[in-house]
Each structure stands twice: as structure tokens, then as C-alpha cells.
Amino acid sequence: MTVDDPVGTADRLRAAVAEQIAGALAGAGVPVGDIYVGWGAALEAATCAARYRGRGELGWAFPGWSPPLAGGACGRAALAHHMAQADLAGRPATLPTPLDAIRTWMRALRTAGDASAGGAPPPERSSVGDWICETWEAGDFATLAAVAATAGRWLAGFVRVLGWPLPAQLTLLNAPGPAAVAAPSWRPDKASPVTVACGADARLGRVTRAGGFVLVVHRVTTADDGAIRDRAAFEAAAGALGIGVVPASVLVSGGDTGERVTAPVDHDLLALGADRIAAVVSQRAIATERGFEPADSTPSTSCRHCDHLAECPPGQAWMRLAERWRGGLPVN
């Protein structure tokens, strides 16, 4: 059933998720530290709860920027900077060339506040921008080149799949500068350790009480990202919680497949997303008393790279099967 009251539904979703989170936290043996609920955590908690719980404090925390992790953030920031420059010059943005756009953004970061730099608008500060500056100052050009590779891949895929000019009324999310807005995030209350973060890359349409806007999620590669419906459900719920209005749909694009799939947001999708969010908090709360437990594992291809494989009989059993059958073929 479609959502005919986007604001009221978002309010009720907030109340329901807050209640689920409060219940989960109340069951924790000891107070729980900060919990960041993004799609990565939701996917892992849903696919193998034991593995998620076994990550420990370091594993649950933000691991710090690296070229593979920063590809999307730097690609969005570079695209936002490119569009902001055009806007400042009073002209439509031209088709960005990925590597040039990224280098221009990086140079602008370096020269921000430097009067001798001329007319380039300084990009607003961001965590990833600060990391780029630190990397540059450290003379780590290998890392900068690697960022150019991953961010260029994101930017190229995003523009290729969404088309250029970008769709009308598209606003980049989770990027610094005047051409973008912050990504929606939500906390059940000011004292809560839980932050739910929407990972959408862009929004189509303005946010009004009538809803009608679309969240855009771009996946560079799709194979390891879970099902489209699961991703759309999480981002729809996280977006509704953060914005306070339920989106009309979630557009999920794939850089590797070229696909663009629109998932209309209905009550079932929101409920699925809410469950995914609550599951992260629930597993994190359980982890205060029980970390990795093989009985709670869900073996899959992830077992190949799991740090807990040596202590996980179900995972080992799966691997024994995988040694004979891999990627749809027997292994001789």
C-alpha cells in the first residue's frame, strides 16, 4: 500500500523505530557506546549477525578514510564543486571530465582561503576534504592517485547512468559546498548513542509535506551490495527518519550493470527498512554480552574472508562445500 500521508507516516516510523531501539538498548548488559547505523552495518547484521557482533569496537567504528572508502565521498564532492563553480559563474555546468573535476576540487581544497589563488570558490570543509589536504601535505601522491581512480570511477558511473545534463531538480546529498546538502541522519533522541545515516547520493525533487521526492542511490558495483529491495528499504526508512517526510520512491542505479531501478516506497518497504535498522542496534546490544557465536552465523561467500572462520563450524562446513562447488560450478 502506498504512503498517502508522508509526514504522519514518517512521524509514526520515528516513534516505532525509537521504541524498537529503546527496547534493544534496554536489553544490553552494559551501556552501549556510539552506534552508527548505515547500510554497511545493516547489510552485515542481516547477512551474518555473528560476524557483525564479532567485529568489536574497532570494527563497528568508522575505519578512517582510505581510497576505496573515499571514492563516493570524493566523487560527490568533486561533482558538487564542479556544479558550484558553474553556478557561481552564472552558466550551466558543462559535462565534467572525471579526472579534471577531481583534480580541480583537490586543488581548490589546497588553496581554500588563499587570496592569491584567485576566483575559485573554496569548497566547504568536510571530513574527507580534510583527509585529502592531510594526504597532500604528507606528500602521499600514491594515495591521491588511488583516490583519483576510485572517485573517478564513482563520478563517471553516476553521470553515465543518470545521464547528462543530470535530471532536473537533482540535488547531491552528503557532499560539501553550496551545490549539495547534508545527507539525512537521525537520532532517536539527543542522548541516544544511535545515529541512523541515510546513504543516498542525491535527491530528485524538493522536500515538501506532500512528499513526492525521490532518493537516488548509486552503487558502483552491485554484486556484493545485497538485493535492490533491501537497499531501497533501508535508504527509504533512513531517509524518512532523517528528513521527516517519506520519499515517494528510491532510485537505485548500478554502475556495473547500467541499471536504474525505481522502488516505490510503501508501508511494507518502510517496515523492512525499519527492521534492518533495528537489527543493527539489537545485535550491537547483544554484543555487549555475547560477541561472535557460531550458532548465530549465516554462512555465505563472505566466509572466505571472515576473521572468525577458524572458530566457526557452520562456516567451515560451508567452506568444505565451497571447495567442491564454487560460483555455480564444481571444483575438480
Binding site: F141, V220, D256
Partner: protein, 316 residues
Amino acid sequence: MVEALGDVLAGPLHAPSADGIAALRAELDVAARAATVVGGWSEAEPLRLSKHLVTGLLRCPRRALSERGERNPRGQAEGQERTGPCEDRGAGDDVVMGSMVDAAAKLATVSPRQSVTVDAALAFLTALGDTTVADHLADLGPAAARLIADAAARIDRLARSGLAGVDPGWWPRVEDPVRVVLAGGAVTVAGRIDVLLGGPPTGRPGVIVEVKSGRWYDGMRADGHLYALMVALRDGEAPASAVTIVSDGTTNVEPIRPALLQHAAERLDEAIGVAARLAAGEPPAMSPGAHCQHCPVRPDCTVGRGWRLEAAEDRS
């Protein structure tokens, strides 16, 4: 053969018409659905093909299956491609050499002003989270010197290929991911194109660049053909050219024609069919050839051993 990539980009490039692309996808989808009935795959447990596996299944199914049992030295996910053809070294050295040459080519593409050395390529790989090569060289100790010198020579030859300094308007991007999903997700073909230039939405024709660390042989062309097909299916527009740059100094340029796309689709269709029969329990066929020289199951393969003997007798 031409001297450098720049000659290709400067010359006339004509992408084939997009007319037949939808029909190719439809034909492949029908074939994949039929094979899925035999192979028993599903969206949850699909057949995952890569260019390496497609070639392997067509060349010698027994070897293709045995290689899947080997420990994956670079830790790729299923469906990702392993680079570097076999050389007369151990598998570890071979993969490491492929990784170094591959990384050098990509670094040259994204950072054209930086001189590309073995050290720079290693630092680039490490920055991307791949420490396999650095670890391998450290394990070798002083014995790594020969491997590093060999890599330096190959990277030096690669530097003359024209990958560095490509006009940014070509949108140079490295490891461009491409994935074709057939039969409702029961069959997938995935890969990463070493370097992709042009194509939508640049307004320029697409050019696929594959980098190889070994010596040129004709079989390398098939990878470019398959990627041309996959890009065509992804973008709805076929690339104009597939360029293979080999670290022995060879640059092979292949204009993409509809017949090549059709041929690549037929090879993929056949590989899916072979995979289905294997998945259904049929014993893998053994097809001897030059690949037997580097085959991991050679000691147990009378067919392969026989071929080598005949070949040796022919040479004498």
C-alpha cells in the same frame, strides 16, 4: 599493430550501430535460461562467469575447473578477473608480475605527470588496499631483485604505449566495472576493464584498453571482444575499438564490428552451455593444447602429457 594508443585515438573511430545489441541480449538470455534448467543455478546461487573462466571453459574444461580450486592469490571476489597470463615462473611470481604491470598502467592513466616506476606502482597498489605484491616481494627477500628488474623493464616498455597523457575529454577511467545479468540473475558475467576511454556520455566513441603483462599471443584478443560485448550490453552502445597493450611492447588494435560482437556472444553462449553440463555432473572434457605447459593438473592428465610429448617430437 600501431605504435601507441595516441594513434588510435587520433585516427577515425567508428562504433558499430546499436541496432543489434538488444537482439544479442535477448539471444543470450534465452540461452542462459535454457542452461539454467540444466545447471540448476538460481539468483541466490548463480553461475558467476569472468573473462578468465569463459576462456578456460572453452579452452579446456578440466583445467578451468581445477584452477577454481586454487587459492585465489589476490583475494578477488567471485566473478572478478585475475590478471596476468602464465609465464615460465611459479604462479605467485606470475600473478605478482601481472599486478605490478597492471597497477603501473592504471597509475599512468590517472596520474599522467607522475613517472611510473615499480615503487610507484607498488605504492599505488598498497594505497588501494592490495598488499599482496608488497608482501610477496618481502617474502622473496633478495631474490625479489630479478622480479623487480623484470617488472621495471616491462613498465618502461608500457610507458611508451601512450596510456599517460590521454586527453581528459576521453574520460580515462580505470578498472571500470561491467556486469551482465542473464536469466533473471541465475547467470552473471562480471569483469573490470583495465582502462575505458570515451563511450556514453562523453560523445566520443568507446575504446577498451586491456593491459597484459606477458607476451602477445592471438588468444588475448578474446578478452577485448568479450568486454566489448559486455560494454555494449551495459551502455546500449558498442565501443569502437578494443586495444590490447602488452608489456612486450605489442599494441594490438581491433576495430569492433557487429560480427565480432556476435562472435563474442556465441563464445559466451557456448561457455554457459559447457558450464551447465559440468554443473549437471558431466565429467569435464580435456582439450590439450599449448596451455597444457602451465596446467596445474598436468601431472595427472594423460591427454595433456601426451600432447606435450607429441609437441616435443614435432620440434625435434
